[in-house]
């Protein structure tokens, strides 16, 4: 039963999901859409079903909430078969997020989020509080609660879609290409935010996608499927990349496996270089002294404010004055955070004009500098080849 407690953090509001020889055969079709699928998703993990179009991944996901009926076999949530309940009742305890979002155009955002709680008979006050709480959790201004979906952008709408699915604190979440209809920039943001959210709430999530990169980024476990819902490999992202089970998986994962592994790492996992820091108003002579030091790794000074927040890179011309100027010559370029996924960081670096990117902590303070060189050095090092390097495992929390 849904916990209903407003504290979303500590409650173990998640169940495992188990497929037991689950089959879906459409009448008149030559082969089953899903053929005796057997899979277990541990509670609190994101399991990604990935595969080419038509492989049955969406059908398999939909059998959990019976929006597609099971022909034979069973699906269990926790220890209960999904066939024991009335479909409508069952679905109210399962979060459901679809690609086209499907918010009710005629209801406000708050009403949309509160849809399932309303079905479950919560009182109005409780629904309102829960909606407000969720709006905050997904990073939207609580004022948006009174607006209609048409007034929100696609990215905002899908966030509401996720909030709506979480409203009644479901045991399981089903997500069918949830970010597929969003533009690439916002998609990345939404993915990151969902991962952050998941770190807090730890729901059991069945996530369907056709994009192997998304699968690697999002999944704790990945099931690579082919036609008939046949699972070719069910493993963690690292295993998938380092030891693909067969040619199909290898082809599907792609030839750029090494590059893909970068998706598993975070910026903070490797040793960063340091840049000599310069403060506004500091005498340039001091800065020059730092630059001249023998062990300096980066030949350019980084201008920071009193809080050690990066403002820009200083050039020779800047250093011509007596004191460090307020505005640097070169712009900052991309600024990375320690939690950023390494692959995205590499992409930012390659696109930016500067070859160095400052890395900051949660408060925006400088903690080091990343460059393409650093990354390639690391990949070549013996540490990167070992399985147990923390950068290769997915960090939790």
């Amino acid at each position: 039963m849904p916990s209903g407690e407003s504290d979303a953090q500590s409650q173990p509001g998640a169940s495992s999901v188990r497929y037991e020889e689950t089959t879906k055969q459409y009448p008149g079709a030559s082969a089953p859409a899903v053929d005796e699928l057997t899979l277990e998703v541990p509670a609190g993990e994101i399991c990604v079903l990935v595969g080419p179009s038509g492989c049955g991944k969406t059908t398999a996901m939909r059998m959990v909430n019976r929006t597609v009926e099971i022909t034979s076999g069973d699906v269990l949530i926790g220890d209960h078969s999904v066939r024991d309940r009335e479909p409508a009742q069952l679905r109210r305890e399962i979060g459901y997020v679809i690609q086209q979002i499907g918010l009710f155009p005629h209801r406000t955002i708050t009403e949309n989020i509160g849809a399932v709680p309303q079905l479950l008979g919560w009182d109005k006050q409780r629904i309102r509080e829960r909606s407000a709480e969720l709006l905050e959790l997904i990073g939207l201004d609580p004022e948006l609660g009174d607006r209609y979906p048409a007034q929100l952008s696609g990215g905002q709408q899908q966030r509401v879609g996720v909030a709506r699915a979480l409203a009644a604190d479901p045991l399981v979440m089903l997500m069918d290409e949830p970010f597929g209809a969003i533009d690439p920039i916002n998609r990345e943001r939404l993915q990151n935010e969902f991962l952050r959210l998941q770190a807090e709430i730890r729901k059991t999530v069945l996530f369907v996608t056709h994009d192997i990169d998304e699968a690697i980024k999002m999944g704790d476990r990945i099931a690579v499927m082919r036609e008939g819902g046949r699972v070719e490999q069910y493993a963690t992202p690292a295993e998938l990349l380092m030891a693909p089970a067969n040619e199909f998986v290898e082809d599907f994962v792609g030839a750029d496996r090494a590059l893909k592994r970068l998706a598993l790492m975070r910026v903070g996992d490797i040793n960063l270089w340091e840049a000599p820091l310069a403060y506004v108003g500091q005498a340039t002579a001091e800065v020059r002294k730092k630059l001249a030091a023998p062990d300096v790794e980066i030949p350019y000074p980084l201008l920071v404010d009193s809080e050690r927040r990066p403002l820009g890179w200083l050039s020779e011309r800047d250093l011509g004055a007596d004191t460090v100027p307020q505005r640097p010559d070169s712009p900052l370029g991309p600024v990375l955070e320690r939690d950023d996924v390494m692959r995205d960081a590499l992409a930012d670096l390659l696109q930016g004009e500067s070859q160095y990117a400052p890395v900051v902590d949660h408060e925006g303070r400088i903690t080091g500098v990343l460059s393409v060189e650093i990354i390639s050095e690391f990949l070549a090092s013996p540490e990167a080849k070992s399985d147990e390097h923390p950068a290769v495992e997915r960090p939790h929390g």
Binding site: T67, R92, I98
Partner: protein
Amino acid sequence: MASPLLLTAAAEVGGDFFRERSSGTLPCQAQSSHLFCWDWAKENIDRYGTPTVQHLEIVLLSVVIGFVVAFGLALFAHRRRQLQPPLLAATGILYTIPSIAFFFLLLPITGFGRDTAIIVLAAYTLQIIYRNTILGLANVPASVKDAARGMGLTNRQILWQVELPLAIPEIIAGLRVAVVSTIAIATLVVFINAGGLGTQIYGSGNLTFPTSIVIAMAIVMGMALLFDLVLLTLQRLTTPWRRVRQA
């Protein structure tokens, strides 16, 4: 060729009839008089009271009955696709048959009077209301229905809480057409002795005179416009989400 003879004969008789009854506003009531006499209008405006009320009663009853039947049919046919074409055809036939003929087709069954009028007028509204309701329901985005179903709404809840509210604009659009058309057509019920504003255009077997006709026409069209605006306002009030600016 009986008609033109009868017509001129009627005109003369009618002329005499009015001549006797009038109070000196003779030119106004002759059939070939000019378009509009304000004097006559001011003096005789109350004679339009009862016909207008009769007219409205018939219209409202017809539209309400027509709506209930057509709406019910649409809900019934909503999830039963095979039924939709035959229902569309059946309501279409009722729409195509000219009302005046329809009145008399029912003569052996229900005779003269209001009942026949209401049956025919209600039948006339069926197609537009049925078709618009079906259309409105069909235009609900599939993703919204998918999400609703996946969240755990039952079919009935989806229909009443999601599909119908979203179909309101189309349904009311159909209702507006039905109401406006029925108000105009109800002038014909005079032919089966059901009263209405038609009596001021073709009273007791003769055409009346321009001023009377024009006033009746103005009242009919005025009512139609009024109801149209009222329904439009109703539609705007019940669909606040359509008034907002899109992101």
